[in-house]
Symmetry: C2
Subunit: 194 residues, 2 copies
């Protein structure tokens, strides 16, 4: 998606340790108009697919998921990262290793909000090693629901999570795939047909 790539080129900051800082528009300050363009683009890519629920993970995934959900006219469910006293009853859980936070955590979704009739689109802001997406896919599978695909804003193509998931048959649609990035040389995007 050209508008997103341009924005990453303009405002993204590459830092040591394969960190791409996009917090001025994607995951700390949120550019809602850009998210609406992303929603339109995901709607175009998943046109014709039956989708009745969007699944994401706290925190920054929620922002994009909510705007995208408007284009599909479906509710959002977000996986929580810690057990609070407001989640009662049975939950689906999965373990995720975070690249950004450098730690392992459990994610959970109440069994009330995913069931075998659900056709699920996963939305997230980043895809790197794919661990969050695998964790969410596991929860969809545990619920007996159908995973239609995953819509990602920025994929770090060089970290291979997206390619591994595609190889096992998950439909992953990323709006911008970073093929290479370097503090001095900047960002090279993967050439795609979209």
């Amino acid at each position: 998606m050209e508008a997103l790539k341009q924005r990453i080129r303009k405002d993204g900051i590459v830092k040591e340790g394969n960190v791409l800082k996009v917090d001025s528009f994607l995951n700390h300050q949120l550019d809602i108009q850009l998210f609406e363009q992303m929603g339109e683009e995901f709607k175009r890519r998943f046109e014709g697919e039956e989708i009745n629920k969007i699944l994401t993970i706290e925190a920054s995934g929620i922002a994009i998921a909510c705007i995208v959900a408007r284009y599909f006219n479906v509710p959002v469910v977000f996986a929580k990262k810690s057990k609070t006293k407001n989640i009662a009853g049975d939950v689906y859980t999965s373990r995720v290793e975070s690249f950004t936070h450098g730690k392992v955590y459990d994610i959970m979704v109440s069994k009330d909000f995913l069931n075998p009739e659900d056709k699920v689109l996963i939305i997230d802001d980043f895809l790197a090693n794919g661990k969050a997406l695998i964790g969410l896919s596991q929860i969809v599978e545990d619920a007996g629901a159908t995973l239609v695909g995953a819509g990602i804003a920025i994929e770090k193509g060089f970290q291979r999570g997206g390619d591994l998931l595609r190889e096992i048959g998950v439909r992953v649609e990323s709006l911008a795939i970073v093929e290479e990035m370097d503090v001095e040389k900047g960002i090279v995007f993967r050439e795609t047909n979209q």
Copy 2:
């Protein structure tokens, strides 16, 4: 806001310990259409006010804030609850005691995203003892920005945070104020003019 009150009556579950469970539509599964009605209502209530930024706090506040932001055509900034390696540089911080999680945590906003020119509307899903709202207000003040007001989905009126904030001059607009709630007797809303 009648639609929200009706939804709370229909799907909200009152639990021991002053917990109101609304996770089927407000803070785990998210009813985006209801959030759009809430956005329209906040826009109506803050009509004529100059607002150029919405501030909220992760995680469930983000969902409502993003949809509400569409009606004001402004970006959202969300306060983060833990320091990740993606937040670099200077941050505004404040300490918050969470009713839901029963613990104390620090919230932070990068200094890049709040400045003295900002006219800020705070949006959150719940207001109980007001600690999160006070923490966010403190951050707005530290940035030298102007706090226009706070838009809250559900206020627990009996926990007094909202009334205390109104007494010190903060404009707090809550779409549903729960005056009393009881596992057996259910929910009584505060009578308001709106």
